[in-house]
Amino acid sequence: MRALLGYLAMGGYAAFVWPAYAVATLVLAGLFWQSRHAYHRRQRELERLQQGRTRRGSTA
């Protein structure tokens, strides 16, 4: 436990080291999540449109 706390203290620089890693993680993970989400949304939208086309095409 003491070893863990000692590690987390980062030799007194915890207030600078951990925020730096946190900012990087949050920004990059957020960008990844947003990019993935946008991709899947477009994919679903395209599939729906294409299904609509074939349905109309077969009844015509």
Binding site: M10, Y21, V23, R42
Partner: protein, 254 residues
């Protein structure tokens, strides 16, 4: 390059590459973090605060590299008028802006304990801040036009003019007095950094590069899907003028 620039072929190739690239990125990021946070030794002067370097320096390299990607894609778009080059430039820019922001934030967090200040208006810090605003300005300009092609053209010109900033950033630490240290990796005569710190730095840099390409491919794919959706919508309104079964307007134009 033109062979890969066909949107249909791009979709097929990127779909095959992306899963591998994604897992490679995850593996590299995990190893890089272990090396940076546990294996690398504390600095003899800076102590544990030196671990900020493993985030700060690779994101700074990426900030410059991604801008070069945006500028080169923009040049390709202006010269060959290829629609995929426009998308490549536009979709790289937000990733570059993210890396630039991380570079500035982590640099500030490193500056306070080591220099005694969060920020100085010296050449290196100011030119990187200008780079961040160039990214934001580029994105705002590209998004400001209803006509995507015109927006892309205006953005491409801004991106090329802004590329002047890249050598200014690189050499700012040599040309002007600054608190920022000079280059210690990419310099004549080889790196001056110890191997035990250079290796984690290298792994993090490769990981960030892999992450960039993963995000870039996903975002270009999204933009191509958006074009197909727009083409299908248009075809639904005017079925005689557009043949969407051929892959859409945007693609038949290439």
């Amino acid at each position: 390059m033109h062979r890969f620039a066909n949107p249909t072929r791009f979709m097929r190739l990127s779909a095959a590459v992306l899963p591998w690239l994604g897992w490679l990125t995850a593996f590299l990021l995990a190893s890089g973090l272990v090396l940076a946070l546990f294996v690398a030794p504390p600095d003899y002067q800076q102590g544990e605060s030196v671990r900020i370097m493993f985030v700060h320096v690779p994101s700074a390299w990426m900030a410059l590299f991604v801008y070069a990607v945006v500028a080169l894609s923009s040049a390709a778009a202006l010269i060959w008028r290829h629609p995929l080059a426009d998308l490549a430039a536009r979709e790289a820019a937000p990733i570059g802006a993210a890396f630039t922001f991380i570079c500035l934030a982590s640099g500030s967090l490193w500056g306070e304990p080591m220099w005694g200040t969060w920020w100085v208006w010296d050449a290196r810090l100011t030119s990187v801040l200008v780079l961040f605003f160039l990214y934001l300005g580029y994105l705002a300009l590209v998004g400001a036009f209803d006509d995507q092609t015109r927006g892309a053209r205006a953005g491409a010109i801004l991106a090329l003019v802004g590329a002047v900033n890249l050598p200014i950033i690189k050499f700012s630490v040599d040309w002007w007095n600054t608190l920022h240290q000079p280059a210690s990796v990419f310099r004549l005569g080889g790196p001056t950094i110890a191997l035990s710190m250079f290796l984690p730095l290298l792994v993090m840099a490769v990981a960030f590069t892999a992450l960039f390409f993963t995000l870039w491919l996903i975002r270009i794919r999204t933009a191509i899907l958006a074009r197909r959706i727009a083409a299908l919508r248009l075809a639904a309104i005017e079925p005689d003028r557009f043949d969407a079964t051929q892959g859409g307007v945007a693609e038949s134009a290439s």
